[in-house]
């Protein structure tokens, strides 16, 4: 796609959203059999799946921590998830995304409950459309809850960006390609920021305004995460009652 002349017209973005509107979200909890917890998460054109295994034994042994669990996070893009086929396997970008995503979730996990063990989070991006790391964190947060890992709270993630000199929530691919700034954040429901990255150009004021906007996005997503988990567990309880 060639850079469009305008990305926002009359306050409306090319995909019809208002500046502070996030893309449609679809959540399915517990989609995998082998994993201890899992979540399928669609965020606009992003399709990601997260699985959690653990607490379980750590291999190799020397990676164990004597007084807490080790949290590991593997973000991976399927070869077919992007326009031009991606070579399989980790690259520098996915290693960095894995690191900051893990750090976005570690603050809410009661790691000290599980010394010498591992909590493994795997996020596979089946289709990518700008915002895969936030989609992954949102999915992983639910998968952790689905796996029964004790957590202080959920974590929700959302990006804010600048497009045609306007701050907008949750960039899509074109806005990401042709926009002026991108800033993904992750947040606990009580407003603690667990992930913060920024690229592009923002004034000090835009940054502060953008941060508030992104926080609002996170709160909207948190609602949906809670609803999805609730739905799963109420259906489970229903199931039990029916038996």
């Amino acid at each position: 796609m060639v850079k469009p002349e305008k990305l926002i017209e009359n306050g409306i973005r090319l995909d019809g959203r208002k500046p502070d509107e996030i893309r449609p979200i679809k959540i399915k909890v517990g989609v995998l059999n082998r994993a201890d917890g899992s979540c399928y998460f669609e965020f606009g054109g992003n399709k990601v799946i997260a699985a959690v295994y653990g607490p379980r034994e750590v291999h190799p042994r020397h990676m164990q921590k004597s007084n807490s669990a080790v949290v590991r996070y593997r973000y991976n893009m399927a070869s077919f998830s992007v326009e031009d086929r991606k070579r399989p396997g980790p690259d520098r970008r996915s290693i960095e995304v894995s690191k900051v995503s893990r750090e976005a979730l570690e603050p809410v996990i009661f790691q000290e409950y599980f010394p010498r063990s591992a909590i493994d989070i795997f996020v596979e991006v089946l289709q990518a459309d700008a915002g895969t790391r936030t989609a992954g964190i949102n999915a992983a947060s639910i998968a952790l809850a689905d796996a029964g890992i004790p957590m202080k709270s959920l974590v929700s993630a959302c990006a804010v960006g600048k497009v045609d000199d306007t701050l907008v929530l949750d960039l899509n691919k074109d806005e990401d390609n042709y926009g002026q700034a991108d800033m993904p954040i992750a947040m606990t429901p009580d407003g603690n920021i667990t992930l913060l990255q920024m690229d592009g150009h923002l004034t000090r004021e835009e940054f502060k305004e953008g941060l508030e906007m992104a926080k609002k996005g996170c709160l909207m997503i948190a609602e949906m995460q809670r609803a999805a988990l609730l739905e799963k567990y109420s259906s489970l309880i229903e199931g039990e009652v029916n038996e």
């Binding site: 593997r74 077919f80 998830s81 992007v82 031009d84 086929r85 289709q127």
Partner: protein
């Protein structure tokens, strides 16, 4: 140790059922688990399919781009099949470069497509010796419930049958379907205590000493076979598996792959 006890118990359980003519999930010996195939599930891929075969769940994406042909086949396109057993799909899979199981699976799926000549490679040639279509078949296993082989094989052919050559995007004409001329289907059997079972579940697979995959075509002919595992098979067992595999492949093809 507990793993070994578990494995012993599981073995006994499956064995005892088998002696009574039963399987853990109530199937007949030649019966497949429930199969769902959805195609075009990944819009960014030129072709895609999600396959659920019992508890096994995988996505096959087909990416197609232009490239240079191999020097010894200047007028033929290229197929490359990749399969990874990513740690998301099973507690026993590990990160890192693909290991022998994943490589074997990918190569058997690849040969199933290639040796059956199901894709007309000569129609994937754009300019002989210079530019051909490269077809990448990537199998992404999400949940290992046993018999990944057949699920991957079904997914690969389903994804190919719905895939388009993205000629417009590469400026070489109009988009057209991938030129298919056969629909190979892989059927995998295991031998447990002398009994042959099709479509092994994870438990059945884990206690079976040997697997035989038979790939057959629309005309009922064979285009690929692979024995895998450390126990031998007799000629009678092999011939029996070949016979039922061809029948079962016909059934699966008609039910899931005829458009």
């Amino acid at each position: 140790m507990s793993n070994e006890i578990m494995s012993e118990l599981r073995k006994d359980y499956i064995y005892n059922l088998m002696i009574k003519g039963e399987r853990e999930d109530g199937r007949k010996f030649d019966e497949y688990r429930e199969i769902t195939i959805d195609t075009n599930v990944i819009e960014k891929a030129e072709g895609s399919a999600r396959v659920k075969l019992g508890d096994t769940h995988l996505v096959v994406g087909v990416k197609i781009q232009t490239g240079t042909p191999f020097p010894d086949t200047p007028d033929q396109g290229v197929i490359i099949t990749n399969l990874e057993l990513i740690p998301l799909a099973s507690p026993v899979f590990e990160s890192g470069p693909p290991r022998e199981d994943a490589i074997e699976l990918a190569r058997v799926v690849d040969r199933g497509i290639r040796e059956s000549e199901s894709i007309d490679l000569s129609k994937l040639c754009i300019t002989p010796g210079e530019k051909v279509w490269m077809v990448f078949i990537d199998v992404h296993v999400l949940d290992d419930g046993g018999n990944i082989m057949d699920a991957a094989s079904l997914g690969a052919i389903a994804a190919l049958m719905t895939a388009k050559l993205p000629a417009q995007r590469f400026g070489v004409g109009e988009d057209t379907p991938v030129p298919m001329r056969d629909v190979p289907v892989a059927v995998t059997a295991v031998e447990i205590g002398g009994t042959i079972m099709l479509d092994p579940s994870l438990n059945e697979q884990s206690i079976a000493g040997t697997k035989l995959t038979v790939i057959s075509n629309q005309d009922g002919g064979l285009s690929g076979m692979q024995k895998s595992g450390v126990l031998p098979l007799t000629t009678e067992q092999i011939n029996y598996i070949v016979d039922i595999s061809i029948e079962k492949a016909k059934e699966l093809r008609e039910k899931f792959l005829e458009i």
